[in-house]
Amino acid sequence: MSTPISERDYAHPEVLVSTEWVAEHLNDPNVRIVESNEDPLLYPSGHIPGAVQVDWTHDLNDPVRRDYLHKAGFESLLSRLGISKDTTVVFYGDKNNWWATYAFWVFQLFGHTNAKVMDGGRAQWEREGRELTRVVPEYLPTQYTAPERDDSRIRAFRDDVLAHQAAGKPLIDVRSPAEYSGEKLHMPEYPNEGALRGGHIPGAKSVPWSKAINPDDGTFRPASELKTLYEQEQGLSSDKDVIAYCRIGERSSHTWFVLTYLLGYPHVRNYDGSWTEYGNLVNVPIEK
């Protein structure tokens, strides 16, 4: 069993809440529980009472171009969910909060800093035998006013990554070792995962995203173990400008969350184009 969040020596422990905390705040009008999953069937199959769903495809993505929603879309979304600037939004989801941190990251692009993640995610809530419901709540719409989306601080684009790589700055590849090495695309019977080339961005270190999680309960590892993983084993430090990537930026948002909030790194960006972009770019360097 993992230690209490307060004992894990995180830089920003306030960003994580326990399942117990969520259970105590189910009826708190200043809290909005948000479920965000990779599998869209999960929320309708049962969710935390009072939780709303933020669907990555329908709610956060631009329907035409490969980008996230803009100011008007974000305002509409939060208004519909009954969220105001003062609402504490608590994200949780499947696969160790993989997509929950992705949604959390998108919310940060619009400056909704009053946000937290439920440690252990959906699986932990279920493991503890806590209530799930299929009732979809309705909340009074709010009038949410958002700033223009600001990608500069926590989002990296292709040219940022190329410059970063050329300068020898740290990159973290959070995919599986087989994706990192390009091994998967060498097996002829396997379809490529949306990229014409396999391998990784030169200089990127391989730190699979799930290594930040306790496999037993899906909670985040304490800071001491995270420091071993990222700093002792990979040479990262908080004074460095770090870019994390995966395939489409979902797993790397989890690592972005870990480095930014649990270890307190001030300069971490998520390259959401990730390998589906980089692995299809013409004439860029690749390592295997």
């Binding site: 069937l41 329908h58 696969k95 699986a123 019977e189 396997y190 379809p191 949306g194 489409i248």
Partner: protein, 149 residues
């Protein structure tokens, strides 16, 4: 679409006609709830499973097995290691119920397109790739038998 098993054709047409996301989700959840009916028996495979049966690109870690039947068809079995992999379970049930026992030349004709007709066009790239991975293994098993004969 090329000819594929009739039961699958009917199911795909039914699902493709659904425009309400909630209704579609409810039907798929009902299918996922039947997963035990297509789960691989322990007499056929036990964990850790042979990676050759693992569906490519499926983050829910789905596995596919095919057992030869006296009439030359295949009976398919599945497992999904992620207990939250409802879409993978639903896909497994759909395939298990509609292509098991069907002519192999029809099974190899099942197109990846059915994933989008069943789960909706807006399905994420990663999810779609995983579900197509399950289907690819189903087709591969049928194709391998046809090449042997």
């Amino acid at each position: 679409m090329a000819e594929m098993p009739e039961k699958l054709t009917e199911l795909v047409e039914d699902m493709a006609s659904i425009t309400d996301r909630t209704e579609r989700a409810e039907m798929l959840i009902e299918m996922a709830d039947r997963f035990d009916e297509v789960r691989v028996p322990s007499t056929l495979a036990t964990k850790p499973y042979d990676e050759r049966h693992k569906a490519p690109a499926c983050e829910s870690e789905a596995y596919v097995w095919a057992v030869d039947q006296p009439d030359g068809s295949l009976k398919y079995y599945f497992d999904v290691l992620n207990p939250q992999g409802l879409s993978a379970m639903a896909m497994s049930v759909i395939l298990g119920e509609t292509v098991s026992g069907q002519p192999l030349d029809q099974v190899i004709n099942v197109s990846d397109e059915i994933v989008f007709k069943i789960f909706g066009k807006e399905i994420s790239m990663g999810k779609g790739a995983g579900l197509m991975g399950i289907l690819k293994l189903v087709r591969a098993e049928a194709r391998a038998r046809l090449q042997q004969n």
